[in-house]
Subunit: 393 residues, 2 copies
């Protein structure tokens, strides 16, 4: 297995893909706000969606379109989520789909639609219609077009998120946007993966699901979950190469892992990247549940913001996790230094240095089990409150 | 039923109780940090404790002491939670209990112990021993002694919390402390109720449980739950009056409701008091679960801080609640104004004024069910982050 991972690539890096981006006028800022990615050589596709019961119109449209394992294009817009817009929102999403399909000479069911932005605002369809037409007229396969697409899907992101995983004669690339609401598994997160590997939809779907379970699904910024989360993967087959399953899975995993790390690093208001690993659990599921409960605890997250080795809050948080544990034999380690042994403070615990941007928290539940799991979260900072208290108005 | 509720009362207002407070030297601030409440005329008692699996030493001690339905005194300290201190912590809690008992000429099993403060710090037992002795020597039945006790249990509270509910010849009084971590049911919350009604422990227990379920249990400031939460109720019988069950339950409920309102109003960093009521659910339990999910959502709480009528976040939050709902027919009302009807925005929704300190959120799940429930929470403010990022260091 010989794979190289770099951030110097775009969704157009794999053969058989073109992209475009435009400023349609959806965002008041005047920044680019629409993008498209087109699979010009194949149609195999897979997708994952938010687990929220309240889903945006574009999620309904894309879920139906990809049900047969095919997509030839995905239209993106930022600045408006087209969520909670009732029947009018559904109609708008369908119109975006059918208008893009007509412009590209495709069937409507071959086009996916992804939106991100404010919930509950009607889509400015005059601008969107012109935007769709401009996207179809402006497609290109070069790096500039790919990079432009990655920029046009951003909302409060501070930078583009792209990755390229290269194999022997084939590659997997991806772009992502996402900031807050990255939980409990996907969240105001849009991801588009492209590959020129010659793989069927079922292979793509299996690789994507396995990778998401240990990457996007374990990112938990604030416990909130978006109505719009969508991860799409498209395979063009244009390389003519069919990698073995193990190598292909590894490439998709590497792409998802790197994009998830970029999402975590650019989460809303983040000043710390916190990895919480739980061991000694009955099974991996319980370990991950416990890690998630700790990672969502606002008191733990505030302590991380303050670089405060307040391990008592970790114990108070894990004690509420609905999993088996030995309350008298819990161990907590901060950045490799034991701060709590057998549920009591270790010498020097208050002096552990958490001033760096990366904090590693390890919690052993004391059961001697082999279950383990990791959740990645962030601190709770003034900037998080600032960004999220002044978003819609 | 003729009950009057006032905040001009103390745990010593009902006949048969004495109290004391001292500055033992546990708090670096030099503020009062130990208190005691003694039932001089009876022994009936009931108590509720945190649901956290990780419990502080005093919780273990008090849980065992009250198991037989009796307590004659409760010793309080602030400034140190005596949680996660291992075997030494257990031993310290037991010593506080037995030392107070000896000073008051009681059995150890007649004394409860409650602690609040930092987790994982050894108890400064030299100071605590002197404090226990001073408490026993300084008891008094007047208002000053009651008020002093209410002040000595505070941590980051900004004010004392007391209540007096007067019936015909008898009364129920209470004091409370609590700020953050008030969830999901009790949390770094200590409450002491006293009554001179002549009621057995079973009656007291039933009244306390019923009242807590709809008051303390529905307060949810930050989703975190303390290792130390304890609500104790003691009855002296000194009035010689046995109220009918309905009136007694109503008095206990009134006391708990008023103390819960005081706790909510003084929660860490609060600038808004938010009541979230869910209707149209299958049953009351599902309604309360949905209300709790909304009340814990950081994006909703940040919007409240910003006085931002961003109802889309309420929909995104409720969509993750593990309850039945009709995702296309959810209604949201802010301060009486419908902002979302059939899961889509209502005209004028963005103009609703949320600038006041009290915000009322009503969510109907669209099932036509009769299930309803209310959870009280607060906003997520800069002050919350400030207080909680600089607590231990």
């Amino acid at each position: 297995m010989d794979l190289t991972v770099t951030r110097d690539g775009h969704v157009t890096s794999p053969a058989g893909f073109s992209a475009a981006a435009v400023t349609a006028g959806i965002k008041p800022s005047g920044n680019p706000d629409m993008a498209i990615v087109v699979n010009t050589a194949g149609s195999a596709a897979a997708a994952l969606f938010t687990r929220n019961k309240v889903v945006a119109a574009p999620v309904k449209v894309t879920r139906a379109a990809v049900a047969d394992g095919t997509l030839r294009a995905v239209v993106y817009n930022s600045g408006n989520a087209n969520a909670c817009n009732g029947v009018a929102g559904d109609r708008d999403a369908e119109e975006i789909q059918s208008r893009a399909a007509a412009a590209l000479d495709l069937d409507a069911a071959e086009v996916g639609v992804c939106s991100t932005g404010l919930i509950g605002e009607p889509m400015p369809m005059a601008e969107v219609r012109s935007g769709v037409d401009a996207l179809a007229a402006g497609l290109g396969e070069d790096a500039e077009h790919g990079a432009a697409a990655a920029g046009a899907i951003l909302t409060t992101d501070t930078c583009s998120k792209e990755v390229l995983v290269s194999g022997d004669g084939w590659s997997v690339a991806g772009m992502a946007k996402g900031v807050g609401m990255m939980a409990p598994s996907l969240a105001t997160m849009l991801v588009c993966l492209t590959t020129d590997a010659d793989v069927p939809a079922a292979r793509l779907d299996a690789a994507l699901r396995a990778a998401a379970e240990v990457t996007f699904d374990t990112l938990d910024v604030d416990g909130s979950t978006s109505t719009n989360d969508t991860v799409v993967a498209m395979a063009s087959g244009a390389s003519g190469v069919t990698p073995d399953a193990e190598t292909f899975d590894a490439a998709v995993l590497a792409a998802c892992r790197d994009l998830a790390a970029q999402l975590q690093a650019d989460a809303e208001g983040v000043t710390k990247r916190v990895a919480i690993t739980v061991t000694g659990a009955v099974d991996d599921g319980q370990a991950r549940t416990a890690a998630r409960v700790i990672g969502r605890d606002n008191l733990v997250k505030c302590a991380m913001f303050g670089s405060d080795p307040n391990w008592g809050r970790v114990l108070a948080a894990v004690g509420m996790a609905p999993v088996e544990m030995d309350p008298d034999h819990i161990t907590v380690t901060f950045n490799g230094t034991p701060v709590c042994v057998d549920s009591a403070g270790a010498p020097g615990a208050r002096d552990v240095d958490l001033s760096g941007a990366d904090i590693d928290v390890q919690v052993d539940l004391g059961l001697g089990g082999h279950g383990h799991g990791t959740v990645r979260t962030t601190d709770l900072s003034h900037a998080y409150v600032e960004i999220n208290s002044a978003y819609s108005s």
